[in-house]
Amino acid sequence: MIQFWPATASDLAQRVDGLTGVLLAICGAILLLVGCLLLGFSIRYRRGSTAKRGALPEFISREVEVGWTAATLFLALFLFAWATGMELRANPPQPDAIEVHVLARQWMWKTRHSNGAQEIDALHVPRGEQVRLLMTSQDVIHSFFVPAFRAKQDVLPGRLTELRFTATQTGTYDLFCAEFCGTLHARMGGKVTVMEPEDFARWLAAQPRGDDLAREGAALFVSLGCAGCHGDRRGGSATVRAPRLEGVYNSPVPLSDGRVVTADEAYLRDSILQPKRDVVAGFPDVMPSFAGLVHEEEMQRLLAYLRSLKDAP
């Protein structure tokens, strides 16, 4: 059986297909118009035909030229506004989204759920709930691509990128690496399985798990010495030389140069690796950089720990 249209398994996919359909109709109409004019003129005005020649009618002149320039421009602006509007509204972040860490490397995908369950070249997600992938790479640039979700995001070394989607159809879908990443690029794929939420919960509970990410992160937080300055959950440190981190995740943080930033994953990550860049107002610039001391998987654990502090007192 020949397939003409990809599976549609996310809410975004339906909207993208809608946009594609309308664009196909508009472009088909333009192509038909140009084709008919080309062929029509070619036949009617072939050399020696009896069609009327002579001066151009009045209306085909500069006004026509200006007319179709303006029409094309308006069409282009309309399409821009529509497509961009869709992009800006697509997948607004939801507070109860399921977070999954994705680590890419030549040539495999490693995914890790928040309870510590790990998968290789596979990802299980529940239907109807927003999934938020926090992705980074250990080596070169990769790209996480699930055609059935119409979702794609490059995965970069040394930086976090994020991909959100909400699956709407249960089933198993292809996962591809879309950014050329070396010898086995074509084999760097896997499967994304969408399950009913109950099935997903059962599946997740049945997975062998290490410690959960946040707990591992808490241990790291102590062993790396972070707790010495930032204090830990038990309120250990007497003199606090650094900001407390309870509830810091996703909250506004005033900086020493007067800016206010939101402490999202990217900010927290940068603060660990390049603490001098954005110093929190009212604190001395004393934190050393942990670049080279914390590898990407440890970083994921630390971030999971900091996120888990959100609800703490």
């Binding site: 390049q274 860049r277 950089s289 670049a291 080279g292």
Partner: protein, 208 residues
């Protein structure tokens, strides 16, 4: 002076105009080359201000400043040479060219001292690099790339100027040839590039 006129031109005035025009376009192209590098520098500095300030203090500001003075003076002598050639003053042309070459060589000599001192201080990125800050690597990567690319432009410019001087000295090339003006334009560009590099590399880390 019909000797200066070449195919496909029918008038020397037009030919001179074309030499200047062609050189200007080429300079536009050169400017975009350095613009790409300077943009990279700007982006990296914005990303890592602390590392760049730290690393910027390690460059040899005295030698850099001396080189700025040398290069500015060489632009003056080159301009004199080009104007003298246009006015058909053979002696002044040759003097101008000779001084320009001497100053160019002085620039490269100072640059050589500066580089060897940088190497002694382990300021070449890689194993045993002197500065701990990771982004200091990037500052010095750009420092080495930009200064050596500029030095290559200096060498190219000196080659062209020396060749023109040789031809003028032997009388093979009429002084009306537009090549003198074109070479001078190129020399000024190399000078201007340095005027941009100087504050970026030597002064940026030292601002209070």
């Amino acid at each position: 002076m019909s000797g200066a006129l070449r195919e496909p031109w029918r008038s020397l005035r037009r030919q001179r105009e074309a030499a200047a025009f062609g050189t200007w376009i080429f300079l536009g192209s050169e400017a975009m080359l350095f613009a790409g590098l300077i943009l990279a520098f700007a982006v990296m500095r914005a990303l890592h201000p602390a590392g760049f300030i730290l690393a910027g203090r390690e460059t040899e500001v005295a030698l850099g400043t001396a080189n700025t003075a040398i290069l500015l003076t060489s632009s003056l002598t080159m301009a004199v040479a080009a104007e003298a050639a246009r006015a058909d003053l053979r002696r002044a042309t040759l003097w101008g060219i000779g001084l320009t070459l001497a100053l160019g060589a002085a620039f490269l000599a100072v640059k050589g001292f500066e580089w060897s001192s940088d190497l002694e201080k382990h300021l070449f990125p890689g194993e045993g690099f002197a500065l701990a800050e990771p982004s200091a690597h990037i500052f010095f990567a750009l420092y080495w790339i930009m200064t050596s690319l500029h030095a290559m432009h200096m060498l190219g410019g000196m080659g062209v100027v020396a060749w023109l001087g040789w031809q003028a000295w032997r009388g093979d090339r009429p002084l009306q040839s537009p090549a003198f003006e074109a070479a001078a334009l190129y020399w000024h560009l190399v000078d201007i590039v340095w005027i941009v590099l100087y504050p970026l590399l030597y002064l940026g880390g030292r601002a209070p």
